[in-house]
Protein backbone atom coordinates (compact mmCIF):
# COMPACT_ATOMS: atom_id res chain seq x y z
CA UNK A 1 0.00 0.00 0.00
CA UNK A 2 1.41 3.34 -0.97
CA UNK A 3 2.35 5.62 1.82
CA UNK A 4 0.18 8.52 2.72
CA UNK A 5 1.45 11.91 1.77
CA UNK A 6 3.46 13.43 4.62
CA UNK A 7 1.26 16.52 4.54
CA UNK A 8 -1.95 14.49 4.60
CA UNK A 9 -3.40 16.57 7.41
CA UNK A 10 -2.96 19.78 5.47
CA UNK A 11 -4.50 18.50 2.30
CA UNK A 12 -7.76 16.79 1.74
CA UNK A 13 -8.36 13.36 0.29
CA UNK A 14 -6.28 10.27 -0.08
CA UNK A 15 -3.00 11.40 -1.56
CA UNK A 16 0.31 9.72 -1.93
CA UNK A 17 3.29 11.77 -2.95
CA UNK A 18 3.12 10.27 -6.40
CA UNK A 19 -0.55 10.86 -6.96
CA UNK A 20 -0.15 14.40 -5.75
CA UNK A 21 2.64 14.99 -8.23
CA UNK A 22 0.48 13.63 -11.01
CA UNK A 23 -2.32 15.93 -9.92
CA UNK A 24 -0.13 18.98 -9.68
CA UNK A 25 1.52 18.44 -13.05
CA UNK A 26 -1.85 18.14 -14.75
CA UNK A 27 -2.17 21.84 -15.62
CA UNK A 28 1.18 21.66 -17.35
CA UNK A 29 0.89 18.34 -19.07
CA UNK A 30 -2.78 18.10 -19.96
CA UNK A 31 -4.57 20.39 -22.41
CA UNK A 32 -5.84 23.51 -20.68
CA UNK A 33 -9.47 23.78 -19.55
CA UNK A 34 -11.79 26.20 -21.32
CA UNK A 35 -11.60 28.95 -18.68
CA UNK A 36 -7.83 29.06 -19.17
CA UNK A 37 -8.31 29.79 -22.84
CA UNK A 38 -10.80 32.55 -22.09
CA UNK A 39 -8.54 34.16 -19.50
CA UNK A 40 -5.48 33.91 -21.71
CA UNK A 41 -7.34 35.35 -24.70
CA UNK A 42 -8.80 38.24 -22.73
CA UNK A 43 -5.44 38.86 -21.14
CA UNK A 44 -3.72 38.85 -24.50
CA UNK A 45 -6.14 41.29 -26.07
CA UNK A 46 -5.86 43.63 -23.11
CA UNK A 47 -2.08 43.37 -23.27
CA UNK A 48 -2.18 44.51 -26.87
CA UNK A 49 -4.42 47.41 -25.86
CA UNK A 50 -1.92 48.20 -23.14
CA UNK A 51 0.94 48.32 -25.59
CA UNK A 52 -1.13 50.59 -27.80
CA UNK A 53 -1.81 52.94 -24.89
CA UNK A 54 1.90 53.03 -24.09
CA UNK A 55 2.59 53.74 -27.73
CA UNK A 56 0.12 56.62 -27.65
CA UNK A 57 1.73 57.94 -24.49
CA UNK A 58 5.10 57.87 -26.16
CA UNK A 59 4.15 59.33 -29.48
CA UNK A 60 1.79 62.00 -28.23
CA UNK A 61 3.11 62.63 -24.76
CA UNK A 62 1.66 62.78 -21.30
CA UNK A 63 -0.98 65.23 -22.46
CA UNK A 64 -3.05 62.22 -23.40
CA UNK A 65 -3.42 61.44 -19.72
CA UNK A 66 -5.87 63.07 -17.40
CA UNK A 67 -3.22 64.47 -15.10
CA UNK A 68 -3.37 68.19 -14.54
CA UNK A 69 -2.22 70.87 -12.18
CA UNK A 70 -2.32 70.14 -9.24
CA UNK A 71 -3.24 66.48 -9.75
CA UNK A 72 0.12 65.58 -11.23
CA UNK A 73 -0.13 62.04 -9.98
CA UNK A 74 -3.21 60.44 -11.37
CA UNK A 75 -4.07 56.90 -12.33
CA UNK A 76 -0.44 56.06 -12.94
CA UNK A 77 0.57 56.41 -9.31
CA UNK A 78 -2.73 55.03 -8.05
CA UNK A 79 -2.09 51.88 -10.00
CA UNK A 80 1.57 51.80 -9.20
CA UNK A 81 0.77 51.66 -5.51
CA UNK A 82 -2.10 49.28 -6.07
CA UNK A 83 -0.02 46.76 -7.98
CA UNK A 84 2.92 46.98 -5.62
CA UNK A 85 0.55 46.31 -2.75
CA UNK A 86 -0.89 43.28 -4.51
CA UNK A 87 2.57 41.97 -5.03
CA UNK A 88 3.16 41.83 -1.34
CA UNK A 89 1.04 38.81 -0.58
CA UNK A 90 3.24 36.58 -2.67
CA UNK A 91 6.41 37.42 -0.84
CA UNK A 92 4.55 37.41 2.42
CA UNK A 93 3.22 33.90 1.91
CA UNK A 94 6.55 32.70 0.62
CA UNK A 95 8.76 34.36 3.15
CA UNK A 96 7.08 35.43 6.32
CA UNK A 97 4.98 32.29 6.63
CA UNK A 98 8.08 30.20 6.09
CA UNK A 99 9.75 31.95 8.97
CA UNK A 100 6.63 31.56 11.07
CA UNK A 101 6.54 27.86 10.26
CA UNK A 102 3.11 28.10 8.76
CA UNK A 103 3.49 25.26 6.35
CA UNK A 104 0.00 25.52 5.01
CA UNK A 105 1.53 28.14 2.77
CA UNK A 106 3.03 25.33 0.70
CA UNK A 107 -0.19 24.90 -1.18
CA UNK A 108 -0.38 28.54 -2.10
CA UNK A 109 3.07 29.97 -2.47
CA UNK A 110 3.82 29.19 -6.11
CA UNK A 111 0.81 30.96 -7.49
CA UNK A 112 1.18 33.90 -5.17
CA UNK A 113 4.84 34.28 -6.00
CA UNK A 114 3.99 34.36 -9.65
CA UNK A 115 1.36 36.91 -8.81
CA UNK A 116 4.01 39.00 -7.07
CA UNK A 117 6.31 38.87 -10.05
CA UNK A 118 3.72 40.10 -12.50
CA UNK A 119 2.21 42.61 -10.11
CA UNK A 120 5.62 44.18 -9.54
CA UNK A 121 6.29 44.21 -13.27
CA UNK A 122 2.97 45.94 -13.87
CA UNK A 123 3.70 48.38 -11.09
CA UNK A 124 7.16 49.19 -12.36
CA UNK A 125 5.90 50.24 -15.78
CA UNK A 126 3.88 53.12 -14.35
CA UNK A 127 6.69 55.24 -12.92
CA UNK A 128 8.72 54.46 -16.01
CA UNK A 129 6.18 55.81 -18.46
CA UNK A 130 5.17 58.55 -16.08
CA UNK A 131 8.65 60.00 -16.41
CA UNK A 132 7.61 61.04 -19.87
CA UNK A 133 11.10 60.34 -21.10
CA UNK A 134 11.34 56.65 -20.39
CA UNK A 135 14.42 56.31 -22.54
CA UNK A 136 16.30 58.30 -19.90
CA UNK A 137 15.17 56.20 -16.97
CA UNK A 138 18.75 55.28 -16.18
CA UNK A 139 19.38 58.85 -15.17
CA UNK A 140 17.91 57.99 -11.80
CA UNK A 141 20.62 55.42 -11.21
CA UNK A 142 23.72 56.60 -9.39
CA UNK A 143 26.32 56.18 -12.07
CA UNK A 144 29.08 58.67 -12.69
CA UNK A 145 28.39 60.68 -15.80
CA UNK A 146 29.87 63.37 -17.89
CA UNK A 147 27.22 65.54 -16.32
CA UNK A 148 28.61 64.99 -12.82
CA UNK A 149 25.07 64.96 -11.55
CA UNK A 150 23.73 62.49 -9.03
CA UNK A 151 20.23 61.48 -8.12
CA UNK A 152 18.97 62.95 -4.87
CA UNK A 153 19.54 60.12 -2.47
CA UNK A 154 17.52 61.74 0.24
CA UNK A 155 14.39 61.53 -1.84
CA UNK A 156 11.96 58.63 -1.43
CA UNK A 157 11.47 58.70 -5.18
CA UNK A 158 15.06 57.63 -5.54
CA UNK A 159 14.66 54.99 -2.82
CA UNK A 160 11.69 53.70 -4.73
CA UNK A 161 13.84 52.81 -7.68
CA UNK A 162 16.15 50.60 -5.69
CA UNK A 163 13.45 49.20 -3.42
CA UNK A 164 11.39 48.06 -6.37
CA UNK A 165 14.36 46.79 -8.28
CA UNK A 166 15.51 44.78 -5.28
CA UNK A 167 12.03 43.54 -4.68
CA UNK A 168 11.62 42.46 -8.25
CA UNK A 169 14.95 40.66 -8.22
CA UNK A 170 14.29 38.89 -4.93
CA UNK A 171 10.81 37.79 -5.81
CA UNK A 172 12.03 36.50 -9.15
CA UNK A 173 14.85 34.59 -7.50
CA UNK A 174 12.50 33.26 -4.88
CA UNK A 175 10.03 32.03 -7.42
CA UNK A 176 12.80 30.57 -9.49
CA UNK A 177 14.51 28.87 -6.59
CA UNK A 178 11.24 27.24 -5.61
CA UNK A 179 10.74 26.12 -9.17
CA UNK A 180 14.08 24.44 -9.70
CA UNK A 181 13.15 20.95 -8.36
CA UNK A 182 9.84 21.07 -10.23
CA UNK A 183 11.66 21.99 -13.37
CA UNK A 184 13.99 19.05 -12.95
CA UNK A 185 11.04 16.69 -12.72
CA UNK A 186 9.34 18.29 -15.68
CA UNK A 187 12.56 17.97 -17.62
CA UNK A 188 12.49 14.26 -17.09
CA UNK A 189 8.84 13.97 -17.98
CA UNK A 190 8.56 16.14 -21.07
CA UNK A 191 9.65 16.03 -24.67
CA UNK A 192 10.69 18.39 -27.39
CA UNK A 193 11.07 22.12 -26.82
CA UNK A 194 9.63 21.81 -23.37
CA UNK A 195 12.37 19.39 -22.41
CA UNK A 196 14.94 21.87 -23.70
CA UNK A 197 13.34 24.75 -21.85
CA UNK A 198 13.05 22.86 -18.58
CA UNK A 199 16.54 21.47 -19.08
CA UNK A 200 18.03 24.96 -19.37
CA UNK A 201 15.96 26.37 -16.56
CA UNK A 202 16.49 23.53 -14.09
CA UNK A 203 20.23 24.19 -14.20
CA UNK A 204 20.93 20.48 -14.05
CA UNK A 205 19.23 19.87 -10.74
CA UNK A 206 19.62 16.20 -9.78
CA UNK A 207 17.70 15.96 -6.55
CA UNK A 208 20.70 14.87 -4.55
CA UNK A 209 20.05 14.85 -0.80
CA UNK A 210 23.07 17.03 -0.17
CA UNK A 211 21.84 19.53 -2.71
CA UNK A 212 18.45 19.49 -1.08
CA UNK A 213 19.94 20.30 2.27
CA UNK A 214 21.84 23.31 0.98
CA UNK A 215 18.87 24.31 -1.09
CA UNK A 216 16.62 24.36 1.93
CA UNK A 217 19.09 26.44 3.90
CA UNK A 218 19.36 28.92 1.05
CA UNK A 219 15.59 29.02 0.78
CA UNK A 220 15.17 29.88 4.42
CA UNK A 221 17.89 32.51 4.23
CA UNK A 222 16.24 34.05 1.22
CA UNK A 223 12.93 34.05 3.05
CA UNK A 224 14.59 35.79 5.96
CA UNK A 225 16.02 38.44 3.67
CA UNK A 226 12.86 38.90 1.66
CA UNK A 227 10.82 39.62 4.77
CA UNK A 228 12.41 42.99 5.60
CA UNK A 229 12.39 43.89 1.93
CA UNK A 230 8.70 43.27 1.57
CA UNK A 231 8.04 45.49 4.55
CA UNK A 232 10.48 48.13 3.35
CA UNK A 233 9.17 48.37 -0.18
CA UNK A 234 5.74 49.54 0.68
CA UNK A 235 7.09 51.70 3.47
CA UNK A 236 9.30 53.42 0.94
CA UNK A 237 6.35 53.80 -1.38
CA UNK A 238 4.39 55.32 1.45
CA UNK A 239 7.19 57.81 2.04
CA UNK A 240 6.79 59.09 -1.49
CA UNK A 241 3.65 60.53 -0.04
CA UNK A 242 4.55 61.05 3.59
CA UNK A 243 7.58 63.18 2.66
CA UNK A 244 5.34 65.53 0.72
CA UNK A 245 3.63 68.33 2.60
CA UNK A 246 0.34 67.80 0.79
CA UNK A 247 -2.48 67.64 3.33
CA UNK A 248 -3.63 64.05 3.59
CA UNK A 249 -0.14 62.74 2.86
CA UNK A 250 2.05 64.23 5.52
CA UNK A 251 1.61 61.52 8.16
CA UNK A 252 4.19 59.44 10.01
CA UNK A 253 1.48 56.82 10.13
CA UNK A 254 1.97 56.00 6.50
CA UNK A 255 4.64 53.26 6.47
CA UNK A 256 2.80 50.77 8.72
CA UNK A 257 -0.47 51.81 7.16
CA UNK A 258 0.80 51.02 3.70
CA UNK A 259 2.40 47.75 4.78
CA UNK A 260 -0.87 46.56 6.32
CA UNK A 261 -2.77 47.71 3.26
CA UNK A 262 -0.35 45.86 1.01
CA UNK A 263 -0.80 42.58 2.85
CA UNK A 264 -4.53 43.08 2.85
CA UNK A 265 -4.77 43.80 -0.84
CA UNK A 266 -2.30 41.05 -1.66
CA UNK A 267 -4.27 38.42 0.17
CA UNK A 268 -7.43 39.68 -1.44
CA UNK A 269 -5.90 39.33 -4.88
CA UNK A 270 -4.51 35.90 -3.97
CA UNK A 271 -7.99 34.78 -2.95
CA UNK A 272 -9.44 36.20 -6.14
CA UNK A 273 -7.01 34.10 -8.13
CA UNK A 274 -6.96 30.94 -6.05
CA UNK A 275 -10.67 30.38 -5.68
CA UNK A 276 -11.41 30.04 -9.41
CA UNK A 277 -8.12 28.28 -9.98
CA UNK A 278 -8.79 25.47 -7.51
CA UNK A 279 -12.19 25.03 -9.06
CA UNK A 280 -11.02 24.94 -12.67
CA UNK A 281 -8.10 22.64 -11.99
CA UNK A 282 -9.93 20.59 -9.34
CA UNK A 283 -7.34 21.42 -6.74
CA UNK A 284 -9.85 21.52 -3.88
CA UNK A 285 -7.88 18.74 -2.25
CA UNK A 286 -4.66 20.72 -2.25
CA UNK A 287 -5.97 24.19 -1.69
CA UNK A 288 -8.57 23.20 0.85
CA UNK A 289 -11.24 25.24 2.51
CA UNK A 290 -9.03 25.35 5.57
CA UNK A 291 -6.41 27.16 3.50
CA UNK A 292 -8.99 29.68 2.45
CA UNK A 293 -10.08 30.02 6.03
CA UNK A 294 -6.52 30.76 7.10
CA UNK A 295 -6.14 33.29 4.35
CA UNK A 296 -9.39 34.87 5.43
CA UNK A 297 -7.96 35.24 8.90
CA UNK A 298 -4.83 36.98 7.64
CA UNK A 299 -6.98 39.20 5.47
CA UNK A 300 -9.05 40.10 8.46
CA UNK A 301 -6.03 40.87 10.62
CA UNK A 302 -4.32 43.08 8.07
CA UNK A 303 -7.64 44.64 7.07
CA UNK A 304 -8.26 45.62 10.67
CA UNK A 305 -4.91 47.40 10.62
CA UNK A 306 -6.05 49.30 7.57
CA UNK A 307 -9.43 50.12 9.07
CA UNK A 308 -7.74 51.33 12.23
CA UNK A 309 -5.55 53.73 10.28
CA UNK A 310 -8.55 55.11 8.43
CA UNK A 311 -10.08 56.08 11.71
CA UNK A 312 -6.77 57.33 13.04
CA UNK A 313 -6.36 59.51 9.97
CA UNK A 314 -9.60 61.26 10.76
CA UNK A 315 -8.53 61.68 14.34
CA UNK A 316 -5.11 63.06 13.40
CA UNK A 317 -6.60 65.48 10.92
CA UNK A 318 -8.79 66.82 13.67
CA UNK A 319 -6.24 66.65 16.46
CA UNK A 320 -3.48 68.35 14.49
CA UNK A 321 -5.65 71.49 14.33
CA UNK A 322 -4.10 72.07 10.94
CA UNK A 323 -6.77 73.75 8.84
CA UNK A 324 -5.51 72.32 5.55
CA UNK A 325 -5.49 68.78 6.96
CA UNK A 326 -8.93 69.08 8.36
CA UNK A 327 -10.24 70.69 5.19
CA UNK A 328 -8.74 67.79 3.27
CA UNK A 329 -10.50 65.32 5.53
CA UNK A 330 -13.82 67.10 5.08
CA UNK A 331 -13.20 67.30 1.33
CA UNK A 332 -12.77 63.55 1.26
CA UNK A 333 -15.91 62.99 3.25
CA UNK A 334 -18.18 65.57 1.64
CA UNK A 335 -16.52 66.76 -1.56
CA UNK A 336 -17.28 65.56 -5.05
CA UNK A 337 -15.23 62.45 -4.42
CA UNK A 338 -17.17 61.53 -1.28
CA UNK A 339 -18.74 58.43 -2.90
CA UNK A 340 -15.26 57.01 -3.42
CA UNK A 341 -14.34 57.67 0.17
CA UNK A 342 -17.49 56.18 1.60
CA UNK A 343 -17.33 53.16 -0.68
CA UNK A 344 -13.81 52.57 0.57
CA UNK A 345 -15.00 52.86 4.17
CA UNK A 346 -17.91 50.52 3.49
CA UNK A 347 -15.72 47.81 2.07
CA UNK A 348 -12.56 48.08 4.11
CA UNK A 349 -14.17 48.88 7.44
CA UNK A 350 -17.71 47.58 7.47
CA UNK A 351 -17.82 44.58 5.15
CA UNK A 352 -14.45 43.45 6.44
CA UNK A 353 -16.07 42.67 9.78
CA UNK A 354 -17.94 39.75 8.20
CA UNK A 355 -14.66 37.83 8.24
CA UNK A 356 -14.88 37.59 12.00
CA UNK A 357 -17.64 35.04 11.55
CA UNK A 358 -16.68 31.54 10.47
CA UNK A 359 -19.97 31.29 8.64
CA UNK A 360 -18.90 33.96 6.22
CA UNK A 361 -15.22 33.18 6.26
CA UNK A 362 -15.74 29.57 5.31
CA UNK A 363 -18.26 30.42 2.64
CA UNK A 364 -16.16 30.23 -0.51
CA UNK A 365 -18.62 32.24 -2.56
CA UNK A 366 -18.66 35.11 -0.07
CA UNK A 367 -14.91 34.95 0.29
CA UNK A 368 -14.56 35.29 -3.45
CA UNK A 369 -16.99 38.19 -3.62
CA UNK A 370 -15.31 39.85 -0.69
CA UNK A 371 -11.85 39.40 -2.13
CA UNK A 372 -12.91 41.23 -5.28
CA UNK A 373 -14.56 43.92 -3.19
CA UNK A 374 -11.39 44.26 -1.15
CA UNK A 375 -9.38 44.76 -4.34
CA UNK A 376 -11.79 47.48 -5.33
CA UNK A 377 -11.64 48.89 -1.83
CA UNK A 378 -7.88 49.09 -1.91
CA UNK A 379 -7.99 50.68 -5.34
CA UNK A 380 -10.34 53.26 -3.90
CA UNK A 381 -7.98 53.79 -0.99
CA UNK A 382 -5.12 54.59 -3.35
CA UNK A 383 -7.37 56.84 -5.36
CA UNK A 384 -8.39 58.64 -2.20
CA UNK A 385 -4.80 59.11 -1.11
CA UNK A 386 -3.26 60.08 -4.42
CA UNK A 387 -5.91 61.93 -6.35
CA UNK A 388 -8.20 63.36 -3.73
CA UNK A 389 -5.35 64.69 -1.62
CA UNK A 390 -3.73 66.37 -4.61
CA UNK A 391 -6.94 67.85 -5.91
CA UNK A 392 -7.39 69.82 -2.70
CA UNK A 393 -4.11 71.22 -1.46
CA UNK A 394 -3.54 74.55 0.23
CA UNK A 395 -4.74 77.21 -2.15
CA UNK A 396 -8.40 77.17 -3.10
CA UNK A 397 -7.42 78.75 -6.39
CA UNK A 398 -5.35 75.70 -7.11
CA UNK A 399 -8.03 73.11 -6.45
CA UNK A 400 -8.78 71.06 -9.47
CA UNK A 401 -10.56 67.81 -10.07
CA UNK A 402 -9.14 64.90 -11.97
CA UNK A 403 -10.75 62.92 -14.72
CA UNK A 404 -8.87 60.06 -16.33
CA UNK A 405 -8.80 59.72 -20.09
CA UNK A 406 -9.22 56.60 -22.16
CA UNK A 407 -5.43 56.23 -22.21
CA UNK A 408 -5.40 56.09 -18.43
CA UNK A 409 -8.10 53.47 -18.41
CA UNK A 410 -6.45 51.45 -21.13
CA UNK A 411 -3.17 51.51 -19.27
CA UNK A 412 -4.95 50.18 -16.21
CA UNK A 413 -6.98 47.50 -17.97
CA UNK A 414 -3.88 46.68 -19.98
CA UNK A 415 -1.83 45.92 -16.91
CA UNK A 416 -4.69 43.77 -15.63
CA UNK A 417 -4.63 41.92 -18.93
CA UNK A 418 -0.87 41.54 -18.87
CA UNK A 419 -1.12 40.23 -15.34
CA UNK A 420 -3.73 37.63 -16.25
CA UNK A 421 -1.99 36.66 -19.44
CA UNK A 422 1.33 36.28 -17.67
CA UNK A 423 -0.19 34.13 -14.98
CA UNK A 424 -1.98 32.00 -17.54
CA UNK A 425 1.24 31.37 -19.42
CA UNK A 426 3.05 30.63 -16.19
CA UNK A 427 0.44 28.08 -15.14
CA UNK A 428 0.79 26.37 -18.50
CA UNK A 429 4.53 26.14 -18.02
CA UNK A 430 5.01 25.56 -14.31
CA UNK A 431 2.97 23.61 -11.80
CA UNK A 432 0.72 25.83 -9.69
CA UNK A 433 1.91 24.36 -6.41
CA UNK A 434 5.27 22.88 -5.45
CA UNK A 435 5.15 19.14 -5.09
CA UNK A 436 8.17 18.64 -2.83
CA UNK A 437 6.33 20.43 -0.11
CA UNK A 438 8.12 19.62 3.07
CA UNK A 439 11.38 20.82 1.76
CA UNK A 440 10.58 24.47 1.64
CA UNK A 441 9.34 24.90 5.19
CA UNK A 442 11.62 24.99 8.17
CA UNK A 443 10.03 22.09 9.93
CA UNK A 444 7.01 20.12 8.99
CA UNK A 445 4.91 20.81 12.00
CA UNK A 446 1.90 19.12 10.57
CA UNK A 447 3.60 16.18 8.99
CA UNK A 448 3.93 12.82 10.65
CA UNK A 449 7.22 12.00 9.07
CA UNK A 450 10.47 13.78 8.54
CA UNK A 451 11.15 13.61 4.87
CA UNK A 452 14.73 12.61 4.10
CA UNK A 453 15.43 15.94 2.63
CA UNK A 454 14.23 17.83 5.63
CA UNK A 455 17.08 17.37 8.01
CA UNK A 456 19.52 20.07 8.91
CA UNK A 457 18.94 23.76 8.80
CA UNK A 458 22.25 25.28 7.82
CA UNK A 459 24.33 24.54 4.80
CA UNK A 460 26.94 21.93 5.37
CA UNK A 461 30.11 23.12 3.84
CA UNK A 462 31.41 19.89 2.48
CA UNK A 463 33.76 19.56 -0.37
CA UNK A 464 32.09 20.15 -3.66
CA UNK A 465 31.98 17.34 -6.14
CA UNK A 466 32.30 18.27 -9.69
CA UNK A 467 31.05 16.32 -12.64
Amino acid sequence: MPERHPDHDLIQGEWTERSLVEKLLEPVEKPPPRPWKVVAAVGFVLTLAWLYAIFVTFTKGLGTWGINQPVLWGFDIVHFVWWIGIGHAGTLISAILVLMRQNWRDSLNRITEAMTLFAVLCAATYPLIHMGRAQHFYWILPYPTHMALWPQYKSPLSWDVLAIFTYLTISTLFLYLGLIPDLALLRERSQGWRKKLYGWLSLGWTGSALHWRRYRAAYVLLAGLATPVVISVHSVVSMDFAYGVVPGWHLTLFPPFFAAGAIYSGFAMALTLLIPLRKWYRLEGVITERHLDWMGKVTLASGLGVAYTYLLEIFIAWYSAEPAEWAQQLWRMTGPYAPYYWAMMLINVVLLQTLWFPRFRRNVAWLFVFSILANVGMWLERFVIVVISLSHDFLPGNFHLYSPTWVDWTLFLGTLGFFLFGLAVLIRLFPPSPWRRCCTSTTSLGSTREAPCCTGTWPTLTRRRSF
Partner: protein, 86 residues
Amino acid sequence: MGWPAFIPVTFEITILTITVGIFLYLLYLNGLPLAAHPAVLAPRYREALVDRPALFVYATDPRFDPEATRDLLRALGAEVEEVRRA
Protein backbone atom coordinates in the same frame (compact mmCIF):
# COMPACT_ATOMS: atom_id res chain seq x y z
CA MET B 1 22.65 64.97 10.09
CA GLY B 2 21.21 63.62 6.92
CA TRP B 3 22.37 60.08 7.35
CA PRO B 4 19.00 58.42 8.08
CA ALA B 5 17.96 59.35 4.56
CA PHE B 6 20.70 57.19 3.19
CA ILE B 7 19.60 54.10 5.11
CA PRO B 8 16.87 52.84 2.76
CA VAL B 9 19.11 52.69 -0.26
CA THR B 10 21.96 51.14 1.69
CA PHE B 11 19.58 48.59 3.10
CA GLU B 12 18.07 47.68 -0.25
CA ILE B 13 21.44 47.31 -1.90
CA THR B 14 22.69 45.15 0.98
CA ILE B 15 19.75 42.81 0.69
CA LEU B 16 20.02 42.73 -3.06
CA THR B 17 23.68 41.75 -3.03
CA ILE B 18 23.20 39.18 -0.28
CA THR B 19 20.26 37.56 -2.03
CA VAL B 20 21.96 37.31 -5.35
CA GLY B 21 25.08 36.14 -3.56
CA ILE B 22 23.25 33.38 -1.72
CA PHE B 23 21.65 32.18 -4.90
CA LEU B 24 24.93 32.10 -6.76
CA TYR B 25 26.71 30.50 -3.81
CA LEU B 26 24.10 27.78 -3.65
CA LEU B 27 24.66 27.01 -7.30
CA TYR B 28 28.40 27.07 -6.78
CA LEU B 29 28.27 24.73 -3.78
CA ASN B 30 26.04 22.31 -5.61
CA GLY B 31 28.26 22.37 -8.67
CA LEU B 32 25.52 23.71 -10.81
CA PRO B 33 24.62 24.47 -13.48
CA LEU B 34 25.06 21.14 -15.23
CA ALA B 35 24.16 20.34 -18.77
CA ALA B 36 23.80 16.69 -17.94
CA HIS B 37 24.47 14.28 -15.13
CA PRO B 38 24.95 10.55 -15.42
CA ALA B 39 22.25 9.94 -12.84
CA VAL B 40 19.51 10.96 -15.23
CA LEU B 41 20.35 8.02 -17.42
CA ALA B 42 19.11 5.64 -14.76
CA PRO B 43 15.81 4.18 -15.98
CA ARG B 44 13.82 4.90 -12.86
CA TYR B 45 15.50 8.17 -12.07
CA ARG B 46 12.20 9.95 -12.51
CA GLU B 47 10.80 8.20 -9.47
CA ALA B 48 13.84 9.13 -7.47
CA LEU B 49 12.94 12.73 -8.09
CA VAL B 50 9.53 12.14 -6.51
CA ASP B 51 9.35 9.73 -3.67
CA ARG B 52 11.85 6.92 -4.13
CA PRO B 53 15.19 7.03 -2.40
CA ALA B 54 18.08 6.29 -4.70
CA LEU B 55 21.74 5.81 -4.02
CA PHE B 56 24.45 6.65 -6.51
CA VAL B 57 27.90 5.26 -6.13
CA TYR B 58 30.34 7.13 -8.26
CA ALA B 59 33.09 5.37 -10.13
CA THR B 60 35.38 8.31 -9.63
CA ASP B 61 36.11 7.11 -6.10
CA PRO B 62 39.69 5.69 -6.20
CA ARG B 63 38.62 2.77 -4.05
CA PHE B 64 35.55 2.03 -6.15
CA ASP B 65 34.90 -1.65 -6.62
CA PRO B 66 31.88 -2.34 -8.84
CA GLU B 67 31.49 -5.99 -7.91
CA ALA B 68 31.69 -5.55 -4.14
CA THR B 69 29.36 -2.56 -4.18
CA ARG B 70 26.80 -4.37 -6.30
CA ASP B 71 26.89 -7.36 -4.02
CA LEU B 72 26.53 -5.25 -0.92
CA LEU B 73 23.57 -3.31 -2.28
CA ARG B 74 21.88 -6.44 -3.63
CA ALA B 75 22.31 -8.01 -0.21
CA LEU B 76 20.54 -4.99 1.28
CA GLY B 77 17.64 -5.53 -1.12
CA ALA B 78 18.14 -2.73 -3.65
CA GLU B 79 17.87 -2.87 -7.38
CA VAL B 80 21.28 -2.11 -8.77
CA GLU B 81 21.96 -0.69 -12.17
CA GLU B 82 25.01 0.50 -13.88
CA VAL B 83 24.90 3.81 -15.55
CA ARG B 84 27.57 4.78 -17.99
CA ARG B 85 28.38 8.30 -18.91
CA ALA B 86 27.28 8.88 -22.41
